[in-house]
Amino acid sequence: MTDKPKENKLLEYWNAFATLVKRHPHVQYLIFGLVLVLFGYLSSVGVLPSYYNSVFAYIIIFTIVALGLNLLLGFSGLISLASSSFIGVGALGTGVFLNLGLPFEIAALLAIVSAAIIGSLIGLLSSKISGIYLAISTLFIAEILRQIFTSLEMFGGERLDIGTVELLGFLELSRNSRAQRFYLFAIMAIVMAVMMMVTYNIIKSRSGRAFMGISRSENSAAAMGISPLKYRVMAFTIATIFAAVAGVLYALYYQNAPTRQWGLLQSLTIIAIVVVGGFKSIYGMFLGAFIIHGLSELFLKELLGDVSYIFSGILLIVVILFYPKGVAHIWVDIRKLYYKFKYRNKEKDVIKDET
């Protein structure tokens, strides 16, 4: 008897919490980020293997790029083959500005701004060029950037070493120390949660609806007073900003930036993540990144060797052919199935009662 009110109170708290989460998806994203932080903590103290940390860091990077690409591919119906190059702009740009002696925050900001400028240029290009011509134009940009990365001396040839990063002017973090690496991981997870919130806000805003309108029919959207040019430029700029943020995180966590990695194959991997995860889904991007990058790095590599490309290629085709909504949609289908069974059983009961 004495316990009951306490239990009720707990239940009340729980209910209040549940409604809070339901009403504010932002809280969900924050919790998701915190869970990841906890996961990183477990692997840094040795409960989970420590290389999980590194793999999940890459998954986070891919998730952020995929969130940006999803705005293009899923919402606006535009395809970009240069998303990997913009991670490169973020990572290498941060490195170059850091080597000039700027503080990390300003270096990161400058790198993101320079990526955004290139992104908006592509957006402007897209005002004239469309369809497959646009996709290949982004390939031009990717090739030009690749040439710049590998030939300019300031990017250091093979890789650009960054070394210990100083945050906020006093917090020095090096990836060589296990505890500090966990802090770096925690920062990444939180940034990812923030980017998820930003994506949510964009999707639910006027611009998000405009993106979707353009992807359905540009002419109808234009007739409704939505300027396709404005929103195309916006979509491209946002996507490149996301990729550049991912690049900054790459520079922060790995503390060096290779120059040859940012090619077409990685862009393809990111497209695979968006497709497998599910167009227009936010958690789907994380799920896709986990399936494409995580599964092959964590499990398949030990069993079968380096099969990541084959695996993601096959998955990509299978998902497009048989499950075009993406893996994130499985939840909805399972729930539908569950209600179907429940409803059917109830219906049977009702029929029994009547007879």
């Binding site: 077409l264 497209i271 290629g313 085709i317």
Partner: protein, 291 residues
């Protein structure tokens, strides 16, 4: 003058390789309404088959080439039957992404099938050259340029003058209507995939001796062929072929006379600016869209 001539000869060789690949891409673009991003990878796969036959049985390149072309034909048919045809209903972007998936599968599978060491393929005509105004012109270059030109001429003739060519053109213009008119569009699409795979493989066999047979050997060709497609316009069959030669020549000239490293970048920039003002390429016209 001799420098200019050797650039010209060089451009003719690379240009014909680009042109073969570009023609293959346009063929598929027109009949299947998708861009085959995996064009280069299919060529690479079959070049590997050729290199494997050559190194394990010691056949000459003249015997190996038909084997590669045959396997290319099979690859094209298989891809069309098992991947492209079931995907007839998916939207355009998803179709393109499927071919991107093909790149990943092929790139991933080559180390398992053929090992990680690069192979070597010899030239069709191993030695011998002739002096033209001070620039040396290899017999092999003459041969490869000639065979590509003859082949492309034959394909253009086929497309323009024969009944099957007519079938290709009507499928390209409107698949549903041509199906209603009794054109076997399935066979047409399958044959275009097979032909495209064979053209890509031929391009790979021509380009292989100047480097080695490795998973990335066709990357440059592939990208250039796409650029040629965009630059020449996908609406015609001849536009991309001409653009391929223009791009090869422009790249070699800028690389030699202007800058070594930034030649490509310069050419790409010029093409991008050009596309901004003429979005459908040199020979293309804006497609008429019914709303």
């Amino acid at each position: 003058m001799d420098n200019f001539l050797s650039i010209l000869f060089n451009s003719l060789q690379t240009g014909s390789v680009y042109a073969l690949a570009a023609l293959a891409i346009v063929l598929i673009f027109r009949t299947s309404k998708t861009t085959n991003f995996a064009q280069g990878s299919i060529g690479t796969l079959n070049a590997y088959v050729g290199a494997l036959v050559l190194s394990s049985w010691g056949w000459s390149i003249w015997a190996v080439a038909p084997v590669s072309i045959l396997t290319a034909f099979l690859t094209g048919v298989l891809i069309d039957t098992f991947i492209i045809r079931p995907a007839a209903k998916v939207n355009r972007i998803a179709k393109q992404i499927i071919t991107l998936g093909l790149i990943m599968i092929i790139t991933g599978i080559t180390p398992f099938l053929f090992g990680v060491d690069p192979y070597q393929l010899p030239r069709f005509i191993p030695s011998g050259s002739v002096d033209v105004l001070g620039a040396s012109l290899r017999f092999n270059t003459v041969f490869t340029v000639l065979i590509s030109l003859v082949l492309m001429g034959a394909i253009f003739w086929f497309i323009q003058k024969t009944k099957w060519g007519l079938a290709i053109r009507v499928t390209a213009s409107n698949e549903v209507t041509s199906k209603l008119m009794g054109v076997p569009t399935k066979t047409v699409t399958m044959m275009s995939w097979a032909t495209a795979a064979m053209l890509g493989t031929l391009a790979a066999l021509i380009i292989a001796p100047s480097g080695s047979v490795n998973p990335n050997m066709m990357f440059n060709v592939q990208v250039s062929a796409f650029f040629a497609g965009v630059f020449g316009g996908f609406q015609t069959f001849y536009g991309p072929v001409l653009a391929a030669f223009i791009i090869a020549f422009a790249r070699n000239t800028t690389a030699f006379y202007v800058t070594d490293i930034w030649g490509d970048v310069l050419v790409y920039m010029v093409i991008l600016v050009f596309l901004f003002f003429k979005p459908y390429g040199i020979f293309g016209k804006a497609p008429v869209k019914k709303v």
